[in-house]
């Protein structure tokens, strides 16, 4: 009986040491609900996904955010709009996206980068609006995409409010630190 207990103890310690860095799964930001990462596995570990309903955001809006650790452009960071096209996760939703205008500089969680708005053509033929955000610290990236069916200006406003919340800023900082 003692042996299984010892093994269970060992497994428990190893398991705890492995999951100590994970964050709570639930968002407490008003109007936003954390949902399962909706995309198949790709080269980067899954991130976090959030949904905001019409009643709270004026539109059905979803935000997907994740760190991409190891990016290569360690000195230049997110240098231009092409970089935003390349590194944000727009292609997970649709390979067919087109920028609506030139991007602009932005800071998210104290990290510098760029934001750009897009028109997305979904596989069912519908059109969505999206914003792509890429910010960096040294060799690491943090990318976010917000998308919905409404006007891009509204999506951008609520998404930036959400990403600028203290809870999200804390999580993004921790995620970039590998926690």
């Amino acid at each position: 009986m003692r042996k299984p207990l010892s093994i269970a103890f060992a497994v428990a310690i190893c398991t705890l040491s492995g999951v100590a860095g994970e964050q709570p799964a639930r968002s407490e930001i008003e109007g936003w609900r954390e949902i399962a990462w909706p995309f198949p596995r790709d080269g980067w570990p899954a991130g976090r996904a959030f949904h905001c309903a019409v009643e709270s955001c004026g539109d059905e809006i979803e935000v997907y955010v994740r760190p991409k650790i190891g990016f290569c452009n360690c000195d230049s960071g997110v240098a231009d709009d092409d970089e935003v096209d390349r590194v944000t996760d727009l292609d997970l939703m649709s390979e067919r996206f087109a920028p609506l205008e030139s991007g602009s500089a932005i800071r998210i969680a104290e990290l510098p980068g760029r934001l750009r708005s897009y028109d997305l053509r979904m596989s069912d033929g519908s059109r969505h609006s999206a914003i792509g955000i890429a910010v960096s610290r040294r060799c690491d990236l943090l990318v976010a995409v917000a998308q919905g069916k409404g006007a891009v200006s509204g999506i951008q406003r609520v998404a930036l409010d959400f990403l600028g919340s203290s809870e999200m800023a804390r999580w993004m900082t921790a995620a970039m630190d590998g926690r």
Partner: protein, 480 residues
């Protein structure tokens, strides 16, 4: 007594299993780790982070040209003892005629900048006498100049190189290829208007003083004016020249890579405007890799006789491409980057047939510090090793010697992990918001010469090590 001993034993095992062991870390003064490979000579390369070595038989001498990454945070521009001045990392030129006593001849400074941002990583060499319009007395060195230019130097006197040509205005460069018989060069560049950091610019450099642009090439979606998803950027091509009529392109670094097989003649002589149709025109096929792996080096070995298939009526010999991923993150923070062998005999149906990695547990490499995983292979097609052995730079696991005579079952037959020195730079990780650093060898690139010497260079500033095979590994190559 027994009731205390057993739990104590379990806890000890648990402690060992769960804790980070330090025994694997290298220490200054410890001997190199080796099997069937022996150190012949070394040079510290002025403690510059090194990338591509190219070894050239030049008259009666053997000269090593070694490209460098940019400097480090601590030492952005190391002092060149020959000039007494700090110089941004560029190209080291070393006389390796006597491999036991390499002589540092000259350093050509590169672009200012640190790590991947500066330096002059890439270098290829062609004799003027093999180029149709070159100066017959010249020896030409094609190198990158940081991310902003490609340069050609005349290194006929390797101690006094002279700049011949500069192709500037780029946003990046990398691992170019130059055919010394035709002069055609496949330059890995970042043309300013393309949507990708790295694509191909095809040039006729048969007259190095007067470069002739042939075309820009990349993947549909990367070209100027396109929209939508941008395909993975290029890492580097290898051409088989007009006879083989193929160019093998490796895309990606440590993610979403693929091998692209291209008809060289169609690439050079096909329609040049970078439209999606024109970019697809020379492509024969692509082999997609896992999203977990990229293609740093794609090394073709055509018509390899496979002993196991010797009695088969068809398919006795196979066209093989060895694909080497590049590890990017320190201390195993990404999926394993390793070596893959693809059978491309049926070109429109290429297929992965085997793989190779260093067993992590053989050296606790995830705990040693720095990168662990593959980066690059030798690219010399000289008879001495071609289609028999491959040498793989594996960062903190040093260089690994593979018997590839049966590419369906590659087998490691030797390795060499150099000792660290006081010059070896640290490699850091952020753990719980704090930086934690370790010092380990980071064997970055490898090349061989026709004499059978193996040249490895270190990304973490430990310099150049010249090796030879010993023991059973020599027999694999047919060396006495």
């Amino acid at each position: 007594m027994n009731r205390y001993v057993k739990p104590a034993t379990y806890l000890s095992i648990l402690f060992i299993a769960c804790s980070t062991s330090a025994y694997a870390q290298q220490v200054i003064g410890a001997p190199p780790e080796a099997s069937n490979m022996r150190l012949v000579g070394s040079n510290d390369l002025q403690a510059r982070s090194a990338y591509q070595p190219t070894i050239h038989h030049q008259g009666d001498r053997w000269i090593a040209y070694i490209g460098h990454h940019g400097g480090s945070d601590d030492i952005p521009a190391p002092v060149n003892p020959q000039t007494g001045k700090p110089e941004p990392n560029g190209t080291s030129i070393v006389d390796v005629t006597d491999p036991a006593q390499p002589k540092y001849l000259h350093h050509i400074p590169g672009q200012e900048g640190k790590y991947e941002a500066g330096g002059a990583q890439m270098v290829r060499i062609c004799d003027g006498k093999t180029l149709s319009k070159g100066d017959r007395n010249a020896v030409y060195m094609l190198r990158s100049f940081g991310g902003e230019a490609h340069e050609i130097w005349n290194v006929a006197d390797p101690a006094n190189p002279v700049l011949v040509t500069r192709l500037g205005g780029l946003k990046d460069t990398h691992k170019s290829w130059w055919e010394c018989d035709t002069g055609i060069a496949f330059l890995v560049s970042g043309a300013p208007d393309w949507r990708t950091r790295r694509m191909t610019q095809v040039y006729d450099l048969s007259d190095p003083a007067h470069p002739l642009k042939i075309r820009d090439f990349g993947l549909p979606g990367q070209e100027p004016g396109s929209t939508g998803a941008v395909p993975t950027e290029l890492h580097g091509p290898i051409s088989t020249g007009p006879e083989g009529n193929r160019v093998y392109f490796g895309y990606g670094t440590n993610k979403g890579g693929f091998l692209q097989i291209v008809d060289r003649d169609k690439l050079i002589n096909g329609p040049r405007e970078p439209t999606p149709d024109n970019l697809r025109f020379p492509e024969i096929s692509r082999l997609a890799m896992s999203a977990f792996n990229g293609a740093h080096t794609v090394f073709p070995m055509k018509q390899m006789p496979i002993a196991e298939f010797a009695h088969d009526k068809d398919g006795k010999a196979r066209d093989i491409v060895m694909i080497v991923d590049e590890a990017i993150l320190n201390e195993c923070s990404e999926p394993r980057q390793m070596v893959w062998f693809a059978d491309v005999t049926v070109e429109n149906r290429p297929m992965m047939i085997s793989s190779y990695t260093v067993p992590e547990s053989s050296g606790s490499f995830c705990e040693r510090g720095g990168r662990f995983g593959s980066h690059s292979s030798n690219e010399s097609m000289a008879q001495v090793f071609y289609k028999k052995m491959a040498f793989i730079a594996f960062f903190n696991a040093g260089v690994r010697a593979l018997d590839i005579r049966d590419p369906y079952h590659p087998k490691e037959v030797g390795y060499f992990i150099p000792s660290i020195t006081a010059a070896t730079d640290k490699r850091c990780m952020t753990i719980d918001g704090k930086e934690r650093c370790k010092v380990a060898i980071q064997t970055n690139n490898v090349e061989t010469d026709e004499r059978g010497y193996i040249y490895i260079v270190d990304r973490a500033n430990t310099g150049l090590h010249i090796l030879e095979l010993s023991g059973a590994a020599r027999a694999v190559a047919g060396l006495p």
